[in-house]
């Protein structure tokens, strides 16, 4: 559940996002075997828009930006295809998170409801002994409802329907991205790790973390936060 390194920042799990953090919520109903692909499609689409090429700082405070490649991904269980950033590291990280979410959904014995969140944040360094603050500036929440289908015909319809739904979600995401609302200022070299995740070798997404919650059958949410390790330091 918790990664071995503790990130000593950020609000406690389940806390509301900061006031100037925009929050978007998407809802999908999918069959169990479609959960992973549907989540990956949404997360990759968001991260496509929230990743840049690697920065290379030069003297005089200028920097150049690397190139982001993209690739098409076909879904096996959904009549759908999406574009993701060409970065195996990023894909692996997302698959790991989504895999855990799917397993938690399955094993929780719940009625198949849960949500996965992708939060973009900035780090604000504080002096010792205070820990760094994480200030979220954008939060994407995907609410998932897992349905059980009785026969093959229903499954086939579900393939198509979920595909259409995901098309709508992509359009929604693009609408949000197009608003050109707050984005962190482009950082100087010393600040870049407070804004971007510079640990990947080929692309540079904004700092993000993924967490999820499973709603058990009583309707209470059991918070399971999975913390993303990003180049953090253990203060204290």
């Amino acid at each position: 559940l918790f990664s071995p390194h503790r990130t000593l920042c950020c609000a406690p799990p389940g806390a509301a996002p900061a006031m100037n953090c925009r929050a978007e919520v998407l809802e999908v109903s999918v069959e169990g075997r479609q959960v992973e692909e549907a989540m990956l499609a949404v997360l990759h689409t968001v991260l496509l828009h929230r990743s840049t090429g690697k920065f290379h700082y030069k003297k005089e405070g200028t920097y150049s930006i690397g190139t982001v490649g993209t690739q098409d991904v076909d879904c096996d269980f959904i009549d759908f295809a999406y574009v993701r950033v060409s970065s195996e590291e990023l894909d692996r990280a997302l698959r790991k998170a989504v895999g855990e979410f799917k397993d938690a959904l399955r094993s929780s014995g719940s009625d198949g409801m849960g949500q996965i969140s992708l939060e973009f944040y900035q780090k604000k360094k504080s002096r010792w002994p205070f820990s760094d603050e994480c200030i979220p500036w954008e939060l994407w929440t995907i609410k998932v409802n897992v349905v059980n289908l009785a026969n093959e015909q229903e499954r086939q319809i579900c393939r198509e329907k979920v595909g259409e739904k995901l098309c709508e979600k992509i359009i929604n995401i693009v609408e949000v991205m197009n608003r050109h609302e707050y984005l962190p200022k482009m950082p100087t070299q010393s600040e870049v790790d407070n804004v971007f995740d510079t640990s990947l070798k080929d692309v540079q997404p904004y700092l993000y973390k993924i967490s999820y919650q499973i709603t058990d059958s009583l309707g209470t949410s059991v918070t399971t936060t999975m913390r993303r390790l990003i180049k953090d330091t253990l203060a204290l």
Partner: protein, 550 residues
């Protein structure tokens, strides 16, 4: 007045950004409709040539077409750059699917930083375009193109024309970017009503800088090479940046429609042209002649002269290629039947191509039901085929014949077994209403080919209709017989679909038929008393037998 606040360097930069943004937009859209998955690599070290920090390959012909359409201008108010995506069936009917519009409106954002913010937002907009091009209905259609239809694109500059999208089309906005000279808007209007229209064509006014591009990715069988060659041909117009094609080219194409299997279409082309060498681009490798069917991909192309359609035009429109349009308003149309012996002449066409002419070209001849497999052809072809009847000739004459073999004509069974109802033709709505059976079909006669008689051709001649063609204009005909797997068998001369249909409903086993069953039961019942009497007689033997078992 709008740009007095903009420094000249900024203005120059902005113009450059908009220009390259337009070019990249076209690349993304067209590449998303090629029918294959796109994959480019990220590179951490900036190469300096990747505009907007995105790895978007440049297909040279597409850039060329886009530049031609723009003709040095930039999108401005009232002057939008449009990429039209349409679908064309193997029967030659086409339908507009989407119009992607890059527009500029007057709303200026004077405060915005050109070199930084505008650039990054344009990059973001391209990412949105990458995402959105996968979610409109045409994407899935384009991934399945190849057999029954192809996806074509056309770039034009000027006023946006949405009338071809049918009723109730929907719009999706990809995004906007404000600049000091106006706001760039990128959107897509797409057809909702995907039911094919029964009318063949619809009137359109040719746009100002109309260019027709055909791009056809041939994918005949899933088992064939995973590469999907997109053959890019050089333009014949001046200043082509990529290798030009010789005037003489050999074109030889056949196309086999597996659905319905009863139809088999041959395109025979006068072998006047050499196949040009493949042009390999960065983006998509082209094993042009690698596939058995890939000769369909090669060949000449239409010239880029919208107006001048003369017999002299060397190229033949080709679906596979980036071929310029003869008629500015249309992607290529199918060509009419040739004029071999027994085939009624096509109404004569003027040498210059017009839309109306092309439409006429598509009209079926009396008593002939045909559908062309060649997804494209040129007006020239038609013109030239007219010329084969004694009109003007030229070294670049092309003659094409399309004929159709229908179910029953060449199959060893009486025609009356086959009714029109059995022909489940896709896009049947397009089938001409005055269809007639093969015995009236003059198209059955293939041209007199000097080449070896393929078995198929042999069967085409089975009705005794040997083409006694008119002399040596057809000497150079090359008919290539297309033999896809399971397609033909001399023993059982029918193709796979017919075979399947026939044997799908075998006659019932006699033992299962009710009459016979009832009969045997009646017999059994009648014989019962007799049998009982016999058994009673032998009861002692039975008892003894039973005792031995104990």
């Amino acid at each position: 007045a709008m740009d007095t606040d903009l420094s000249s360097q900024d203005r120059k930069d902005l113009d450059k950004f908009i220009k390259f943004f337009a070019l990249k937009t076209v690349q993304v859209i067209v590449q998303a409709r090629l029918g294959e998955k796109i994959c480019t690599r990220s590179s951490s070290s900036p190469t300096g040539s990747d505009w907007f920090n995105l790895a978007i390959k440049d297909i040279p012909e597409v850039t060329h077409e886009a530049k031609k359409a723009l003709a040095g201008q930039l999108p401005a108010v009232g002057r939008s750059m449009c990429v039209e995506i349409s679908l064309k069936t193997s029967e030659g009917d086409s339908m507009e699917l989407e119009i992607w519009c890059l527009e500029m409106n007057e709303k200026c954002d004077k405060e915005i930083k050109v070199s930084y913010t505008v650039y990054n937002r344009l990059s973001l907009l391209l990412k949105s375009l990458l995402a959105i091009t996968r979610v409109t209905p045409a994407y899935r259609l384009s991934r399945k193109q190849g057999h029954e239809y192809v996806i074509l694109y056309r770039i034009y500059f000027g006023e946006v024309q949405l009338s071809g999208l049918g009723e109730g089309f929907q719009t999706v906005r990809v995004g906007t970017v404000g600049t000091p000279v106006g706001t760039i808007t990128l959107s897509c209007a797409y057809r909702i009503n995907l039911a094919f229209m029964s009318t063949r064509q619809f009137e359109r006014t040719p746009p100002i800088m109309g260019i027709i591009i055909d791009h056809f990715v041939d994918r005949p069988y899933p088992s064939s090479s995973p590469m999907h060659p997109c053959n890019y041909r050089a333009g014949e117009d001046n200043g082509a940046v990529y290798p030009s094609v010789e005037d003489s080219q050999e074109v030889c194409t056949t196309s086999f429609s597996t659905s319905p299997p009863s139809q088999c279409v041959f395109t025979v082309t006068k072998a006047h042209f050499q196949t040009p060498p493949p042009v390999v681009t960065d983006t998509l490798k082209v094993p042009v002649m690698g596939l058995a069917f890939s000769h369909q991909l090669s060949s000449s192309r239409l010239s880029y002269q919208p107006a001048a359609l003369g017999v002299g035009s060397a190229d033949m429109g080709y679906p596979v290629l980036f071929a310029g349009g003869l008629n500015a308003a249309h992607p290529h149309q199918l060509i009419g039947p040739g004029k071999e012996g027994g085939v009624p002449p096509i109404p004569s066409q003027p040498a210059h191509g017009t839309q109306a002419d092309q439409e006429r070209m598509c009209t079926p001849l009396d008593g002939v039901h045909y559908s062309a497999a060649t997804p494209s052809s040129s007006e020239d072809t038609e013109t030239v085929s007219n010329s084969s009847e004694g009109k003007c000739g030229s070294p670049h004459d092309l003659l094409e014949t399309i004929f159709i073999r229908k179910v029953g004509a060449f199959v060893n069974k009486p025609i009356n077994q086959v009714t029109m109802a059995n022909l489940d033709i896709p896009f049947a709505m397009f089938a001409p209403k005055n269809v007639e059976l093969e015995d009236n079909d003059p198209m059955v006669n293939p041209p007199d080919s000097p080449e070896t008689q393929s078995p198929l051709q042999g069967s085409l001649h089975s009705e005794g209709s040997s083409g006694s063609s008119t002399g040596n204009t057809h000497d150079d005909f090359v008919m290539v017989d297309f033999k896809p797997a399971f397609s033909k068998d001399d023993i059982l001369p029918m193709d796979l679909g017919t075979f399947y249909r026939e044997f799908q409903n075998p006659p019932q086993l006699s033992s299962l038929s009710i009459d016979i069953g009832a009969q045997s039961m009646a017999e059994d019942l009648d014989s019962l008393p007799e049998k009982l009497a016999v058994h009673e007689k032998n009861v002692r033997e039975f008892d003894a037998f039973v005792e031995t078992l104990q």
